[in-house]
Every structure is written in structure tokens, then in C-alpha cells.
């Protein structure tokens, strides 16, 4: 049934708020939760919802994203029909290479949209981490007869000043009011930037929008439709947890949030596994004097020191006598003996040498860039 739905993920936006973490990679490729990239959650969610055609529109710094997604094998998206479509920018008459908004990006990939066979499209942005039941969302849309259905959350922590899209929803699920990038959000529900509509309808909207010099889907297309009641825009509430990756603080908070077992189980329900590129590491080894509490550990780590309230990615080494507290250590990071680090984010392959001390304020964690040795 869901084979008639395709997914398109827009990974264009880049955000300076993430400092060194997004210097060389798109937010979608940001490593999170010990063994994933941000985009794994959405791609897995689409695939778990039965979608077999997933396009990923790329814009800047997309090398690590392409490297990560590969042929789409890990998500079973390497079929003969459909599968994973990586859509990097390219220069043609229609495509100027730099997208000012989702509309531009879709216009540039109009061939992909028209060539696809599915009747419906789920369109998502890539700054969100959540694991919604896509099949329930799609079913709701089909049953309701709406032209467009937006996914939203009531989680107040998702509200941002001058960013995002906020909505009011009536008892029938209809969107009655909408604000885009308000100075302070006034409406109670945050749009998750995930929507479903008919593929033909999307193509019409894109053509019309571009012809009128418009760039932003929410502001220029959806908002007027809500205000003028020219189309039926519904909304579906995602009741599970959701996070927006738009700053070092929100990145840090997400990782710390999932140390809570209830939150983690809500993000990783048994029937919605999250897939990622596999590294074939052996299980992690704990030494005789390891002390580890309230910590998530991926495979391939060797832990001989003390670790608390932290996230260790694949292949991390914590030497005897090293102490790691409230930290996120990405792939192959090392903390040598006698070192003490607190409130730090170590990017891939960062090394903290013997007896170094690094303590960041909890509200502003220290970011150590990739390959840096301290």
C-alpha cells in the first residue's frame, strides 16, 4: 500500500550555530547518539513506513553525507526499481546550484519528481531528529482527504525565535492559523517540516511558486493557502520525542536526553529500528578498573577509565585513569590516562593527551574539532 509514497529529504540548510561540528559536513551528516547521523532517523522512518523511493537533495558539504548513504544498502534502498537517489546540485538552465529555499531545490530536481511513479510525496527537512510512525501519518492523510498534511509536535522546547513554522489546529485536524519565522512564536504547535501531499500537486506548487519568484515553501506557498482557505491543510500530531539540531546546545541536549531510558525507548521503539552504515567493530571491552555510569556506548570501544553521563561513539578509547564526564566523544576519539574532560564534544579522531584538563561550562560545551590533538 505504502509503495505508492515516495520520500524527499532536503538537506540544504547549513547553520553556523553548530560551530566546528558543521565546518566540513551538512547537519544531516552530523554524528549523533553514538552510532548514527542525523539523517538516519528520517531515512529509516520513511523506509519503516514502506517507502522504497527516497531522494536526498544535497547542497553544501555533502561529501560526508554521500559517503555515509552510499548505495542505500543499509536501508534496503538498493533495489532495481527505485531505491535511494542522491541529488547533489548541478548546473543546468533550471538549476543554478545554490538553493535559496526548498522551492528552488525542488525546481532543480523537477526531473526526479516527474520521473518518479508514486502518487504521494513525503517531504522533509533534515534538521529534525525523531522516529515517527510514517505509515500512520500517511494513512491519516489518505483517510482525511486533505490536500496537504503537516506533521507537528506540541513539545514547547521545539519553539525558536525567528525560526520555524507554528500552527493552530482545530478539532477536525485542520490548520486554522500559521506563522512563519515569528519574532516570538505565539501558536502552540511546532511544524516538524515533514509534510505529505500528492506528487502532482507538489509539482504544480513548485512550478507556480518558481514562476512567481518565490523561494520558501512555508512562507510563500503554504501560508497563503492557510490564510485564504484555498486548499485543505491538515495536521497530524507526532506524540513521540523530537529534537531540532540547530545549535551546539541543542545538539548537546539531544545526546544527553537519550541517556534517559524512557526517552531512548521512545526514540528507538522496537518496531521502528534505526539503520545506519555498519562498521563491523567488535563489541566494546571494559577493563578491570573501568567505572562507567549513565553512559551510552557503541561497539569497538575500549574503556579502562571512568566515564559518566556521556556518549561514546564507535572505536573510542578511554585509558586507565582518564575521567570523562558529561561528554560526547565521536568515532575513534581517545582520552589518555590522567586526562579529565567535562562538558566537551570531541569530533571524530580527536585526542586528549595525558593529564590534560578541559572543563567547559555546561551551557556552552567545548567543541574539539576533528583530528585535533590536545
Amino acid at each position: 500500500m505504502l509503495k505508492d509514497v515516495m520520500g524527499v529529504i532536503y538537506t540544504g540548510e547549513n547553520d553556523a550555530q553548530l560551530r566546528e561540528l558543521t565546518m566540513t559536513r551538512a547537519i544531516a551528516a552530523l554524528p549523533v547518539a553514538g552510532r548514527y547521523r542525523v539523517i538516519d532517523f528520517l531515512v529509516s522512518s520513511l523506509v519503516n513506513g514502506g517507502m522504497r523511493n527516497v531522494g536526498v537533495i544535497m547542497q553544501k558539504n555533502y561529501h560526508s553525507l554521500m559517503d555515509h548513504l552510499g548505495s542505500g544498502k543499509e536501508w534496503d534502498l538498493h533495489g532495481k526499481n527505485d531505491g535511494l537517489y542522491v541529488l547533489p546540485p548541478f548546473l543546468t538552465r533550471e538549476n543554478v546550484g545554490v538553493y535559496t529555499g526548498v522551492l528552488d531545490a525542488l525546481r532543480s530536481n523537477t526531473n526526479y519528481l516527474s520521473r518518479s511513479k508514486q502518487e504521494y510525496v513525503v517531504l522533509c527537512n533534515s534538521l529534525i531528529i525523531s522516529n515517527p510512525h510514517m505509515d500512520a501519518f500517511v494513512q491519516y492523510h489518505m483517510d482525511s482527504g486533505a490536500d496537504i498534511t503537516l506533521m507537528y509536535t506540541k513539545d514547547p522546547s521545539m519553539a525558536r525565535d525567528e525560526y520555524g513554522c507554528y500552527i493552530n489546529v482545530d478539532d477536525n485536524g485542520r490548520v486554522t492559523d500559521m506563522e512563519v519565522e515569528p519574532t516570538h512564536p505565539n501558536l502552540p504547535n511546532t511544524s516538524m517540516d515533514i509534510m505529505i501531499l500528492k506528487r502532482d500537486f507538489l509539482r504544480q506548487l513548485v512550478d507556480k511558486g518558481v514562476a512567481h519568484g518565490q523561494h520558501a515553501l512555508n512562507r510563500d506557498i503554504i501560508l497563503p493557502m492557510v490564510q485564504g482557505q484555498t486548499a485543505r491543510i491538515n495536521a497530524w500530531e507526532h506524540k513521540g520525542p523530537v529534537w531540532l539540531m540547530d545549535s551546539v546546545q541543542s545538539y548537546f541536549r539531544f545526546n544527553m536526553d537519550i541517556l534517559n531510558s524512557e526517552t531512548r525507548k521512545a526514540l528507538f521503539p522496537e518496531d521502528l529500528p534505526v539503520f545506519t552504515k555498519v562498521r563491523d567493530e567488535m563489541p566494546s571491552r571494559y577493563g578491570d578498573n573501568a567505572t562507567v555510569v549513565n553512559t551510552l556506548v557503541a561497539d569497538g570501544c575500549i574503556i579502562e577509565g571512568t566515564v559518566e553521563n556521556s556518549i561514546l561513539f564507535r572505536g573510542v578509547r578511554v585509558a586507565p585513569g582518564a575521567h570523562v564526564k558529561n561528554c560526547i566523544i565521536m568515532q575513534d576519539g581517545q582520552v589518555h590516562s590522567g586526562a579529565y574532560i567535562e562538558n566537551c564534544i570531541l569530533d571524530k579522531q580527536a585526542v586528549i593527551k595525558r593529564n590534560a584538563r578541559l572543563i567547559g561550562p555546561s551551557a556552552y560545551p567545548i567543541v574539539i574539532a576533528k583530528n585535533v590533538v590536545i
Partner: protein
């Protein structure tokens, strides 16, 4: 016509592995979990991939379902190829005749058509009984260099254990002079590893003759190899000195798991140049809770530890509840150790449960085993060496 392959591997995975007791009641031995995230078969399959052997037939007949599902398309081992790859080969009807595999040699004989498709020069015979990392390509080069008809991989074993193995007596040039199956008075301590390379033309001839011999038990060790020796074929022993561990019994499977906890690990599974691949279940990283203690252990993704874990191996999706204590134990995928339960010197098989406050195993004595999907009720005691299956009753 399929393209020619220099060497095709045939993996004998049909044995029941009855010495593993209730652990192989529901799964074939090669599918038995090992080392936190692997199955025994991951080792020969990964060795093939890492050795550049990309065409592997896996001969199954006993409890093949879990093994078949595990192998799938072969993608985890990069064996999902259009030219070659991994093939599961159960016995099948041929004309009016259909029969089970009668012995190791008969299993290969029945699949000669599979091998012939690739016109190989050599055939590598493997078993799914051991944990080891071995470059089969080096062994093949050795075979070619010696102009051998058959090459048998051998590993020196402690003299006092030599009478448990098939022993090769060789001369200084590695030529095999004599093969003795489980000799009472071993003349050498070079044990056959059950890894053979044959020049295919020769093997085909001997398999065909062996099949015609009604008195033969159609076994490599008992029939094919002695016959080739008696007919003065060129047979050489290839010395292997790496880690090689039989996991054919409860005790040895437990020991092989415990080996991974010693420093340095006798078999390096961190080796990036010789990765051991496994099918990945797609779990989140494992979680060690506040109040938990984990020392000297191996833990993989998807597990949650709220209690005490010491000198143990935990597989994917295992839960150790608060107040539970696990020591010198192997807890296989999906099993739960409830509150206050104590597990010592034990193997808990897949999807099993140890009830709150129960005791499984003892500090000394044989390894206790809880079988696949078995629920040990709360507040009972499983003694050392006891094997608990669904029929076991507690009073």
C-alpha cells in the same frame, strides 16, 4: 556459462553439533552465537572474503532456518555478488533419487554440479566448528607451490590432547606420511583443522570412486584422505600457528568466549585489516545505567545494564536488571536477567529469561545452560552443569 573461478569454497554446515546439548536443539551449530555479536559461521565466511575467495557454497541440512535467514543474500560479508557469492545448498532431489547428506564427502559429491559451474582449479573445504582467522589464499599459494593434490591445514596441539584429534605425521618437507584419526599413541601433535584444499580434478575423481564404494562411510577424514595417501598422491600439511579454538562443546564454547576477555586478546578482533563481519541487528548503542557496575567484560549494541556485570560477554539486546549479578557468563541475544538474579559460570541462550532472585550456575563446576527461549521462574536454583530446557520442572 558462469565465469571461471580459481578456487571455490564449500562450507560443511550440516552437522547437528550434538555435543553442544540444548544450544543446538533449535539452531545448527554454525549459527550458534559467539563473542558478543558473531555467529560461528562469521569466521569462515569473513576469512573467505578477506582471502579473496568470493564463491562459497554452504551445505546445510540440520535446523537450517535460522542459518538460512542469517546468511540471507550474503551482503554482510560482501558476498552478494552477481559473479559468485554465497549459496545455501540443502540436499535436493536428483532425478528419482533424493537423499540426505550421508557424510562430509557425500555432501560435496552431491554438489559437484554446483562446483563444476565455476570450472575451478581448486576447492577449499571448510567447517563451521572453529573460531580462527586464517588467510586461505596463503594456504592456496602453498598448495600450488608444492604442486600438491591435497593440502591439509594443521595446528600444533598440546601433546596430551593430541589423541582427541586427527593427527598428521609429516616429513621435513611438509609431506604427509601418515594420517591417524584419534591415535592412542600420537607420533606427532599436528592436528588436522578440518580445512582442506584439493586440486579439483583429483578430488572429483576420488569423490566419484568413494561414492561407488558401498563400504565407505563417505567421510573426508575416514575415507578420502586415507585413500589418497595410500595411492601416493602429493599431500602436504600447511602449518597454522594462530588462534584456533574448537567450539564444539558447552565448555569449549564458554572458554572461547572467555578468551576474548584476557589481555591481550588471543584473537585480535579489532584488526582493521582482517575484520570479522556479522549481520547487524540495528540496535542503539548499549547503555550502562547509574548504579551499574561493569568490569572486565564485552558488551555490544542494544544491551542495557542496570546491575553488576563482571568477566562476562553480553550479546545484542540483553537486559541486566537492577540488583542482578552476572559473572563468568555468556548471555546471548535478547535475554533478560531479572532483578536480583545471580548468574555464575553459565551460558544463557537466545531470548531466554532468568527470573527474579533465581540462581543459575555456581562458582565452581561445569557450565550451566539455559536453553533458547526458556524462562527460568523466579526464585529457583539451576545447579552447575545443569541444562534447562522448556521441559525442565522446578519444585
Amino acid at each position: 556459462m558462469l565465469r571461471k573461478k580459481t578456487c571455490v569454497a564449500m562450507l560443511l554446515a550440516g552437522g547437528q553439533g550434538s555435543r553442544l546439548g540444548i544450544l543446538t536443539k533449535q539452531v545448527a551449530k554454525p549459527a550458534v552465537p559467539y563473542g558478543g555479536k558473531y555467529r560461528i559461521i562469521d569466521f569462515p565466511l569473513s576469512n573467505c572474503t578477506n582471502s579473496g575467495i568470493d564463491t562459497v557454497g554452504v551445505l546445510t541440512q540440520y535446523q537450517p532456518l535460522e542459518l538460512n535467514a542469517y546468511i540471507g543474500s550474503g551482503a554482510p560479508w560482501d558476498l552478494d555478488l552477481s559473479n559468485g557469492g554465497v549459496f545455501v545448498l540443502p540436499p535436493y532431489q536428483k532425478g528419482k533419487v533424493g537423499e540426505w547428506y550421508r557424510g562430509t564427502a557425500n555432501a560435496i559429491y552431491q554438489n559437484m554440479a554446483f562446483i563444476e559451474q565455476y570450472h575451478p582449479d581448486y576447492v577449499l573445504i571448510l567447517s563451521g566448528d572453529h573460531i580462527y582467522k586464517m588467510d586461505y589464499n596463503r594456504m592456496l599459494q602453498f598448495h600450488i607451490r608444492h604442486g600438491a593434490d591435497a593440502t591439509i591445514a594443521v595446528r600444533e596441539v598440546p601433546w596430551e590432547e593430541a589423541s582427541r584429534f586427527g593427527i598428521m605425521n609429516t616429513d621435513a618437507d611438509a609431506n604427509i606420511l601418515e594420517f591417524e584419526e584419534k591415535p592412542k599413541q600420537p607420533k606427532s601433535n599436528k592436528a588436522s583443522m578440518g580445512v582442506y584444499i584439493f586440486t579439483w580434478e583429483k578430488l572429483r575423481k576420488y569423490l566419484t570412486e568413494d561414492e561407488a564404494d558401498k563400504s565407505s562411510s563417505n567421510d573426508f577424514g575416514k575415507n578420502i584422505i586415507p585413500k589418497m595417501l595410500s595411492e601416493k598422491q602429493v599431500m602436504v600439511a600447511y602449518d597454522f600457528d594462530g588462534y584456533w579454538k574448537d567450539v564444539g562443546t558447552i565448555e569449549s564454547l564458554w572458554e572461547a568466549n572467555m578468551d576474548l576477555l584476557s589481555t591481550p586478546m588471543p584473537i585480535d578482533l579489532h584488526d582493521k585489516k582482517w575484520r570479522i563481519y556479522a549481520r547487524n541487528p540495528g540496535y542503539a548503542p548499549h547503555y550502562i545505567a547509574k548504579g551499574a557496575t561493569v568490569v572486565d567484560s564485552l558488551i555490544t549494541e542494544g544491551s542495557e545494564v542496570y546491575g553488576h556485570v563482571e568477566h562476562s560477554v553480553l550479546f545484542a539486546g540483553v537486559v541486566i536488571e537492577e540488583g542482578a549479578s552476572v559473572q563468568d557468563a555468556v548471555i546471548m541475544p535478547g535475554s533478560i536477567i531479572r532483578r536480583g538474579a545471580v548468574v555464575r559460570r553459565a551460558i544463557v541462550a537466545e531470548d531466554a529469561e532468568v527470573g527474579a532472585g533465581s540462581f543459575v550456575g555456581e562458582e565452581e563446576g561445569n557450565i550451566a545452560v539455559v536453553g533458547h527461549s526458556v524462562k527460568v521462574p523466579a526464585g529457583v536454583k539451576v545447579t552447575a552443569g545443569q541444562q534447562v530446557d522448556a521441559q525442565t520442572t522446578f519444585n
